[in-house]
């Protein structure tokens, strides 16, 4: 319910003002991503020569013709063209002869060529293409044109493989910790065992421990086991690092389930395992979903863990994109489409399941 909209005049002016300010903020928030989205569909030659906002209709100087200055004109004295007098240097940087007409010398004095620009509406014919996405996904040799129209060839970054690697890493690295944490949360909530409270205190303490502390020793272990660069290494690492939060969130939920349900299951002769699988898991779906989205976004968007345990083998999208920034820092047609390929899946998951994500956020922030 919007309590502020029910009020009188001053209240609705507050609503209008709020909406206005929010529109500005929201625009500032969306424009950077939007620019990348637009750019990813533009022709490489256009990207290098004009800003992405030029795809929208706007008034600009457009070249409409050219003429040659007769050879008898002395170029060292001030030059008169279309009634305007100016030095050569001025002509070279462009002189406006009327409100909507500009003349500009092309190149050095010897060319004797002048380009005519007129100010008019441009940008209706958006020159859009899917070629950038094709080039980004490809792992073989690709070619494109730069601002001057010259053809450039590069090795593709193979985003097709990177996306599959990311899926192969992220899906199990989301489901495995959920399963392990749910079992543990059930034990902490409903079972008696020595060291129960102490272990749970450790879990709480580990929630804020920075990842960096574990990277070097775990890397040493993985090297010994020959696991570096494998999916298994990533699943194990992400499970280990994600467990404290997972156990904490799921414990909060599972320990609140009504005791009678569990007792009646016990009286019916169900083993703890059966009770867990048939009863606890289905009842905990909201909590499981909250953590699942959390963990999936975290793993999919992770760069540090992938950088260290995967290296260049089985590159995931974040490492592929980061590598592309390093190798092809100015190839915006590839960078923008790569960035979008890396964002499609998490954005879809995020918007589809935002409700659960917010619930997880709220439960995850430890507060009194």
């Amino acid at each position: 319910m919007k309590r502020n909209l029910t009020g009188g005049g001053s209240r609705s002016s507050v609503a209008i003002l709020s909406t206005l300010v929010l529109s500005l903020i929201a625009a500032a928030w969306v424009i950077p991503t939007f620019g990348v989205l637009v750019t990813s569909f533009r022709d490489s030659k256009d990207i290098f020569s004009t800003g992405w906002w030029t795809v929208f209709p706007h008034k600009a100087w457009a070249k409409t013709g050219e003429f040659v200055v007769p050879s008898e004109v002395d170029l060292d004295a001030p030059i008169v063209l279309e009634g305007k007098t100016a030095e050569f240097a001025e002509w070279r940087s462009g002189v406006q002869v009327t409100e909507s007409r500009k003349l500009q010398w092309f190149g050095n004095k010897r060319t004797r060529r002048v380009d005519v620009f007129e100010r008019k509406w441009v940008g209706f014919g958006m020159n859009l293409t899917l070629a950038n996405y094709k080039n980004t996904l490809s792992g073989s040799e690709i070619t494109f044109k730069d601002a001057n129209g010259a053809t450039i060839s590069r090795q593709g970054n193979n985003f097709a493989d990177a996306v599959l690697n990311s899926i192969a890493v992220a899906v199990p690295a989301t489901l495995i910790p959920i399963l392990i944490a749910a079992f543990a949360a059930y034990a902490f909530a409903w079972m008696e065992f020595p060291g129960r409270k102490f272990s749970f205190v450790i879990v709480i303490a580990l929630m804020v421990v920075p990842l960096q502390i574990a990277l070097i020793p775990v890397l040493q272990d993985f090297t010994k086991l020959g696991l570096n660069g494998s999916y298994l290494a990533m699943w194990l690492a992400h499970t280990g690092f994600g467990l404290p939060l997972a156990v904490y969130l799921l414990f909060n939920y599972i320990s609140q389930l009504p005791r009678d349900i569990l007792e009646s299951a016990y009286l019916d002769g169900a083993t703890p395992f059966k009770t867990f699988v048939m009863l606890i898991l289905p009842l905990s779906v909201p909590a499981l979903a909250s953590f699942a989205i959390f963990q999936f976004l975290w793993v999919w968007n992770d760069y540090l863990v992938a950088l260290i345990f995967l290296g260049d083998r089985n590159r995931v999208v974040t490492s592929a994109l980061a590598a592309m920034v390093g190798e092809k820092g100015q190839d915006w047609h590839l960078l923008t489409s790569g960035a979008f390929l890396s964002m499609i899946l998490p954005l879809t998951v995020f918007f589809a399941l935002q409700r659960f994500f917010v619930r997880g956020l709220m439960a995850g922030s430890v507060k009194g």
Partner: protein, 363 residues
């Protein structure tokens, strides 16, 4: 399910279990080898990896539980909690608890991990100019990043509460939370793009285009000392404001509306309501959000790594950790830096534990 009250170690049950055990080991090992060696179809490999990874985990629990259920009742009541909580505790021990102790141990040794140097790595961590630069930059992130994120999140939450399009605005501000830091790096690198001098070069980066539109000089922003740190902090603010907004918005909705109405009747204006009622009512949530973002800015790595690699005066602690370990191969120094990071979050850790014991959620 068979009888769960009395133990049932019959030869048939044991045989069944042994067969199950052998099948599990075969499935695990066979799958491992397949994943390691198969290279033909990436699509098939991905599908197999998912099924094998998740399936193996479930299978392991099933086998462990089946073994535990065969035990006599007394041993079983001890074994079952071990089956349920054991794997989680084992992984926590392997991936977080022992690594912390091992990092502490490594931090007292030189780069090869063989020669004991005691506190020399910590002397480096606290006195080296490189580390000082990283510390002061992290302080910038901590102070300005956290303050801007919380302030903006709060303002947006309060304004959204008063706007008819609340959910749409919130979704737009929240959206970057689904974007990776690397992706955000590309998005903002493009915002800050610089083409340089030369005749008729039109800037393709939005920031430079705006600056030149208002008659300014275009700049290579990420190379500008001083400025570049703040331009990187903008990226974090862009990414994290949504989080602050969601938590604070929920807190604001929890304020009793009678309280607001009463003060409006008493003639309080919106600013007075904001500072005298809203802020004191949600102080607890503000602290929570600020703490989370502070921890986050302390560990910050990806943005700096992708945008500048820590060059041009933008280095941060987590990046220096990476450089020490993976560029210079100096395990001792890197471990010392990791320990410093850990020490920095200890106050939060203690606060969490205190909160936990006060809540008595654990019976």
């Amino acid at each position: 399910m068979k009888n769960s009250v009395s133990a049932s170690i019959t030869p048939v049950a044991v045989l069944k279990l042994l067969i199950l055990l052998a099948a599990t080991i075969a499935a695990l090992w066979g799958g491992f080898l397949f994943l390691r060696d198969y290279r033909e179809s990436k699509l098939l490999l991905t599908a197999f990896a998912i099924v094998w990874g998740v399936g193996s985990t479930a299978l392991l629990y099933f086998v462990l539980n089946s073994s535990a259920e065969l035990l006599p009742s007394k041993a079983r009541s001890l074994a079952l909690p071990l089956v349920f909580a054991g794997p989680a505790l084992f992984l926590l021990l392997w991936f977080l608890v022992t690594p912390t102790l091992r990092s502490l141990y490594l931090s007292f040794f030189d780069e090869t991990g063989t020669k004991f140097v005691f506190l020399a790595n910590y002397a480096f961590a606290f006195t080296d100019p490189v580390m000082w630069e990283a510390f002061s930059n992290n302080l910038l992130w901590l102070v300005f990043g956290t303050a801007s994120t919380v302030a903006l999140g709060l303002v947006i939450a309060v304004l959204a509460d008063r706007s008819p399009w609340e959910n749409a605005f919130k979704a737009l501000v929240f959206m970057p939370m689904a974007i990776s830091f690397v992706g955000a790096g590309v998005i903002w690198k493009f915002m800050y793009a610089y083409k340089g001098e030369g005749t008729n070069v039109s800037e393709i980066g939005l920031l430079n285009a705006v600056v030149t539109l208002f008659g300014g000089e275009s700049q290579a922003w990420l190379l500008l000392p001083g400025w570049n740190n703040f331009l990187l902090i903008v990226i974090m603010v862009w990414l994290q404001t949504g989080y602050a907004m969601v938590i604070l918005s929920a807190a604001i909705k929890g304020i009793p509306s009678e309280l607001m109405e009463a003060s409006r009747v008493d003639g309080a204006n919106e600013f007075q309501i904001f500072f005298k009622i809203i802020i004191p009512s949600i102080a607890g949530s503000i602290v929570t959000v600020a703490t989370t973002i502070m921890i986050f800015s302390l560990k910050l790595f990806d943005i700096v790594r992708v945008m500048t690699g820590g060059n041009y005066g933008t280095n941060v602690i987590a990046n220096e950790f990476y450089i020490e370990q993976f560029t210079y191969g100096n395990t001792g120094r890197a471990s010392a830096i990791a320990i410093v990071l850990l020490i920095a979050v200890v106050p939060v850790l203690i606060y969490n534990l205190k909160q936990f014991s006060e809540r008595r959620a654990f019976k």
